[in-house]
């Protein structure tokens, strides 16, 4: 579904990603871990198409197409969803209105008719229950005055309504209390399916106890420095990232010095 090859990305002329490779197949869940500032959110933004994140080398293919050729809204309509690490507030715009506008934009793109208010509300209310959210949040301005945890839940609510093909969850677990973490994990698990892939960016093993990933990657020094099965997360929890970075450094020096 997603193939990233030799991806180099700069932000304000500062190189952040330097030769990242990653492949995600339909039905898989991948966890991406890594130290603060290593470029996890950068990767998420590049996938979603944020301006200012300049790809200087490499390619990204999504469903067999060149992802980088698509505008952000086109990517969304093609099924890419990013749950933001820091969800954005939009004063005066009702949460429910943003949701409806988004869903109908997707439906139009797929050649389906737009949902009317009644059908739409029925759909959203079902998803609200799944996320154990108060209906009142629907009528408040998007993320305005939401608590940290409410913002994160709201992101997953949007995901549940929009039903993406590839969901990227950037630290959705950060700031959630223990009960909320379970609710969010249940919501995510309910959406796992053979047609859908997910990338979970996280710092904590705890999320992965609830959502068991197929692969775990460590992002360091601008690339995937280490990949492994679900147990890798436990190693990292115990040993930290220092050793991963040190080894990556060594390998990098070796390959840079070598003839290849």
């Amino acid at each position: 579904m997603l193939e990233i090859r030799n991806l180099h990305v700069t932000v304000d002329d500062k190189p952040i990603l330097r030769g990242l490779d990653l492949e995600v197949r339909a039905g898989e869940v991948h966890a991406i871990m890594g130290p603060n500032g290593s470029g996890k959110s950068t990767l998420a933004y590049v996938l979603a198409g944020r301006e200012g994140y300049v790809v200087t080398q490499g390619e990204i293919r999504y469903m067999g197409r060149d992802l980088l050729a698509l505008a952000p809204e086109e990517r969304a309509r093609e099924g890419i969803f990013l749950a933001f690490q820091y969800p954005v507030e939009i004063p005066g715009v009702a949460n429910v209105y943003l949701l409806k506008a988004a869903l109908n934009a997707m439906r139009r793109h797929r050649g389906e008719s737009e949902l009317d208010a009644v059908d739409f509300l029925a759909l959203v209310k079902g998803k609200l229950k799944l996320m154990d959210m108060d209906e009142a949040l629907l009528y408040r301005a998007v993320n305005e005055g939401f608590s940290g945890g409410e913002k994160k839940r709201n992101e997953i609510l949007q995901m549940a309504v929009l039903e993406p093909r590839l969901a990227i969850l950037d630290e959705t677990d950060s700031g959630l209390d223990i009960d909320a973490l379970k609710v969010v994990a249940n919501g995510v698990n309910a959406m796992r399916s053979p047609e859908r892939a997910m990338i979970l960016v996280t710092h904590y093993q705890r999320l992965l106890d609830y959502i068991r990933p197929d692969r775990v990657h460590v992002l360091a020094l601008g690339r995937i420095a280490l990949s492994g099965g679900p147990d890798l997360a436990q190693d990292l929890e115990r040993r930290g990232y220092g050793w991963v970075e040190a080894e990556a450094q060594k390998r990098h020096a070796a390959s840079a010095g070598g003839p290849g």
């Binding site: 301006e51 952000p72 809204e73 969304a76 954005v88 939009i90 004063p91 429910v96 209105y97 208010a117």
Partner: protein, 482 residues
């Protein structure tokens, strides 16, 4: 990221849809202003002597005045002798008596503008007075309103048929000495709307005036006078458009509102005069004096305005809170794009005890637009317990536009409470991207964010106008959900 800013500017700009010109046979006076011209205007309108006297007093006073230059707006000098002060579609000398007598070409013009003058179910909730260049061409639903004792007619008709009311109230809120443009208007005003709601009557439909400047080199100087007698209620709407022209045209109107004991007047404007082109060429100079007088206790006047047009907007709809417990409100959205300039705001003058006022101003600037809020809150010694709350928010699109806030506060009574809050924000790259990442196009995202910003003001508008206002801001109809 500069590229994005440019794109943003394009997004909220749209072509002016009302820029066509209607060729008509007109009756006008020569360019320029003199006592003679004023006498001619007054004679054409068959006015009583008191009216002519008033005009001449205003004109003589105007000659002693100079154009004000304190606003943050800039324009080349206006040649007041190069303006045609009276232009009317030719017809019966005393104006059409019914819709059947109105030139069909004119009716078509209004159809095109989306203001059908036929009294049919489409507009059943709104009575319209249409002012075309200098004269009122049609007033609808006159009879139906007449049954309730409501007078809704053109100003000229009011001068002829209700001279006592006109004489009692004309200039009682905005005297002919008030300011340069109001004084000019007092001398040359040609028509406008007049409205009187008798005691205890709640006007059952929205009253509306639609102003249209059509002729070239013509100024429009209309006057509106609305009187709500004891315990009466009226909601009044005003809309405006003009053809696209390269030269600037002057619009200097005066609106006076009088609310007597327990009366309420709600006055809404959607101003969409031609704003000039992308390079700042042409457009209307909109120099308007609007003022309401809460003359007696427990009365209420609220102004709601959505200002999207004009090359220059200079207006400060104000309320004099004379009666005890009276309430004044001002809700405003002003959008400036390309080279448009707006200097707008309000004055709340608290004289009575326990008077309250609320000011909510939303300024949106894009392109090279400049937007200034200028507001005065004045609490006199007599106004014990007066309260004011002011909120001024500015939204910037792109980095070449400007927003300014000039709050003036004068408080002479220690029991008064005056609060002021202000904010300036830029449409965030992050907000746009957030919407786009949900599948919403950049264009729709801007509309969404702008309509969110204006929501509290749009909520104050009557339904039909809220829709129009949203369209004007390039916002889809669905924006009102939730």
């Amino acid at each position: 990221m500069g590229k994005r800013s440019v794109q943003l500017d394009e997004l909220i700009s749209q072509e002016y849809r009302h820029g066509f010109y209607t060729p008509l046979d007109v009756d006008d006076v020569p360019r320029g202003l003199s006592e003679d011209v004023i006498r001619v205007i007054s004679a054409k309108k068959q006015e009583p002597a008191f009216m002519l006297e008033w005009r001449l007093k205003a004109f003589r006073h105007w000659l002693t005045m100079t154009e004000p230059h304190w606003a943050t707006v800039h324009h080349p000098p206006i040649d007041y002798q190069d303006i045609v002060y009276y232009s009317a579609p030719r017809g019966k000398a005393d104006g059409p008596q019914s819709l059947a007598e109105v030139d069909p070409e004119l009716l078509r013009t209004y159809e095109k503008l989306g203001v059908p003058l036929q009294e049919r179910e489409l507009l059943a909730g709104v009575a319209v007075d249409a002012v075309f260049d200098s004269v009122s061409v049609a007033t609808t639903f006159k009879e139906k309103l007449g049954e309730l004792g409501i007078i809704f007619c053109s100003f000229s008709e009011a001068v002829r048929n209700h001279p006592d009311l006109v004489q009692e109230y004309l200039g009682s809120v905005v005297p002919y000495t008030d300011n340069f443009f109001a004084t000019l208007n007092s001398a040359v005003f040609s028509d406008g709307s007049f409205c009187y709601i008798p005691p205890g009557v709640r006007c059952p439909m929205e009253l509306s005036t639609y102003f249209r400047i059509n002729a070239r080199n013509t100024g429009q100087f209309e006057r509106t006078l609305i009187i709500a007698d004891r315990g009466a209620y009226v909601s009044y709407l005003e809309g405006c458009t003009a053809p696209m022209r390269d030269e600037n045209q002057l619009h200097a109107a005066v609106v006076e509102l009088i609310a007597r004991e327990g009366a309420q007047i709600k006055y809404s404007t959607v101003q969409n005069w031609y704003p000039g082109d992308k390079d700042g060429k042409g457009g209307i100079y909109n120099f308007v004096t609007k003022r309401g007088d809460c003359r007696e206790a427990n009365s209420k006047i609220s102004w709601t305005q959505v200002e999207t047009g004009s090359a220059i907007t200079w207006k400060y709809p104000s309320v004099i809170l004379r009666g005890d417990n009276s309430v004044g409100e001002f809700h405003s959205v002003a959008l400036t794009n390309h080279w448009q300039q707006a200097d707008t705001g309000t004055k709340m003058i608290h004289l009575g005890r326990n008077t309250r006022s609320t000011i909510l101003s939303k300024g949106i600037s894009a392109g090279h637009g400049s937007n200034a809020y200028r507001g005065l809150v004045k609490v006199a010694k007599s106004a014990a317990g007066a309260r004011n709350y002011t909120q001024c928010d500015s939204l910037l699109l792109g980095d070449r536009c400007a927003a300014h806030t000039f709050p003036y506060i004068e408080v002479k009574n220690p029991t008064a409470r005056v609060e002021h809050e202000a904010s300036t924000s830029r449409i965030g790259e992050d907000q746009l991207f957030y919407c786009q990442s949900r599948g919403i196009s950049a264009e729709d995202a801007v509309s969404l964010i702008v309509s969110g910003f204006c929501k509290e003001v749009f909520r104050q508008l009557p339904m039909e106008f809220a829709v129009e206002a949203q369209k004007l801001l390039g916002v889809s109809l669905e924006g009102s959900i939730g």
